[in-house]
């Protein structure tokens, strides 16, 4: 059901863990499936993400997308990191099964939440960043036949 890349990131997740005194920490969950993701960012003075770690309570897709998302934002500026959408993460993973698309949103939102936390701590405003939701669960869509 999962692509090889997903399985690879699931089996060998990159950047699992915590960052002490992180510049920003964000936690989001999906009340519908019950899964939770926490993202830690270490951002230097030039606004570059030096370090990024995560912890995930979630399905295979949640683990893999967290792992890939951390890889993608590492080394990027805060502005660049904003462009790491769930689509970008999914593409980097060679796709996800349709029922698992929502899992990738967790990763996107967790980054946004961590950035929001960073901005609040720093008392700055990040262009284009809105206050993230802590629960991303949406209405379940009726499948159309």
């Amino acid at each position: 059901m999962y692509s090889e890349k997903v399985m690879d990131h699931f089996e060998h997740p990159r950047n699992v863990g915590e960052i002490e005194n992180a510049s920003g920490v964000g936690t989001v969950g999906n009340a519908k499936c019950g899964d939770i993701m926490r993202m830690y960012l270490d951002i230097d003075d030039k606004g570059v993400i030096n370090e990024c770690k995560f912890k995930t309570f979630g399905c295979g897709a949640a683990v893999a997308t967290s792992s890939m998302a951390t890889e993608l934002v590492k080394g990027k500026t805060v502005q660049e990191a904003l462009e790491v959408t769930n689509k970008a993460v999914m593409e980097a993973l060679d796709g996800l099964p349709p029922v698992k698309v929502h899992c990738s949103l967790l990763a996107e939102e967790a980054i946004h939440a961590a950035l929001w936390d960073y901005a609040e701590k720093k008392h700055i405003k990040i262009e284009g960043l809105e206050k993230p939701k802590t629960d991303i669960s949406e209405e379940e869509e009726e499948e159309e036949y």
Binding site: F10, C33, I36, R38, T56, F57, G58, A62
Partner: protein, 387 residues
């Protein structure tokens, strides 16, 4: 991948080689339509008669009361929908439980839209129906009690005898979904006052796509699938002869080996449960410790999520399940685990291992070690776990 340890026998089982063997002649040799008049058709017909008797014997039933269907889901749908229609002049109330299989629950929801009143009984923390609540739920409108024999997720076995007695006293039909129980625990439809009983072959080393509904003589329900005169005019469709033959052999086999097989399974089950609960912290057993299916283990591991656990077990060659396989289309936590009172996040981290006669002590030890490793690993990744 090397050896596979298959511990998802509640989802489906391997079709036993002797079952396949018995089926084979009915594909390309004795392939006649049993309703026909010529000789090879007669062979199909006899084979069906024999299978019907093999199955009836396991239930202490009259073979004419066994009606073949395409599986447990069809049997459940038939029993409920047809009883609702046939007894509508008596009432519209059906009593069931919160822990039934979706084949019952979704059928009930469908019937609610058509005017049925359904009582979904709570269960206790071990997943057992409370008899006082069942008795209180009965009204003069009650036409049917449908309570599963044993639960597919947590293995708890219901007080079927008491339910049957109560139903009989009140003159109410009693249907039981015995898909998990048939061939695993002794069942006598007369002693237990069961009026209708659903079963599915692939749960007891029979083939997929064949099941039956037992309908006690005198129960007035009619066809669910209309058409030809098969199954004494109650279930149309050219008979799945190989499937029926396979089911007969599987049932006879399950009955014959039941005592020894389930004794062995229950021992291994208890060994695994004890070790996992002792050796892995923050765990709990789901379902009744005693009144449970001989091959069912269901344990919650706090702070971790089921799918990840399953994938990691699969990587080690272990096939298991989390919640019930049939419902994996949904992301919601198991309704059964919620019904016994587990909070969402703990329900999510539950693992079901269902053994077979082939499961060995070595398998068990290997699986326990792997569970310990994987649970530790996933917890170290979990934002909920602070060690």
């Amino acid at each position: 991948m090397g050896k596979m340890i298959y511990l998802d026998n509640a989802a489906t089982t391997k079709t036993a080689p002797e079952v396949v063997e018995a089926m084979l002649p009915y594909f390309s040799e004795n392939y006649g339509n049993p309703s026909s008049i010529y000789e090879i058709a007669g062979r199909s017909k006899e084979a069906i008669t024999e299978a019907r008797e093999q199955i009836a014997k396991v239930l202490g039933a009259n073979s004419r009361d066994i009606y073949f269907t395409a599986g447990g889901s069809e049997s459940d749908n038939w029993a409920l929908k047809a009883a609702f229609e046939a007894y509508s002049s008596k009432g519209n109330h059906i009593i069931t439980t919160k822990i039934e299989h979706h084949a019952i629950l979704h059928t009930c929801e469908y019937l609610e839209k058509r005017g049925a009143k359904i009582t979904y009984l709570d269960v206790d923390q071990n997943g057992i129906v409370k008899m006082e609540e069942l008795e209180k739920a009965i009204t003069p409108e009650t036409i049917l009690i449908s309570i599963m024999f044993a639960n597919n997720e947590i293995g708890s076995i219901q007080p079927v005898r008491e339910i049957g007695m109560l139903a009989r006293e009140h003159g109410i039909l009693f249907h039981t979904d015995a898909v998990q129980a048939f061939g695993q625990v002794p069942i006598d439809v007369d002693a237990l006052n069961i009026d209708m009983l659903s079963s599915s072959a692939h749960k007891i080393n029979g083939p997929k796509g064949i099941g039956f509904l037992y309908i006690r003589k005198g129960v007035k329900i009619r066809s669910f699938i209309h058409g030809g005169a098969q199954e004494r005019k109650r279930r149309a469709g050219t008979e799945n002869v190989p499937g029926i033959v396979g089911y007969g052999v599987a049932a006879a086999r399950a009955a014959e080996t039941m005592e020894e097989r389930t004794g062995k399974e229950a021992e291994l089950r208890d060994y695994m449960i004890r070790r996992i609960l002792e050796e892995v912290p923050y765990t709990r057993l789901n379902g009744d410790p005693k009144k449970r299916l001989p091959n069912n283990i269901n344990i919650s591991f706090q702070f971790i999520e089921g799918e990840s656990l399953l994938i990691m077990l699969d990587m080690e060659g272990i096939a298991a399940s989390s919640g019930s396989a049939c419902t994996s289309g949904s992301l919601d936590p198991s309704h059964v685990l919620l019904a016994i009172g587990l909070p969402h996040e703990i329900a999510h981290g539950s693992l079901r291992l269902t053994l077979s006669e082939e499961t060995t002590k070595e398998d068990a030890d290997f699986v326990i070690e792997k569970i310990k490793e994987i649970v530790a690993r996933l917890r170290s990744m979990s934002p909920l776990y602070e060690d």
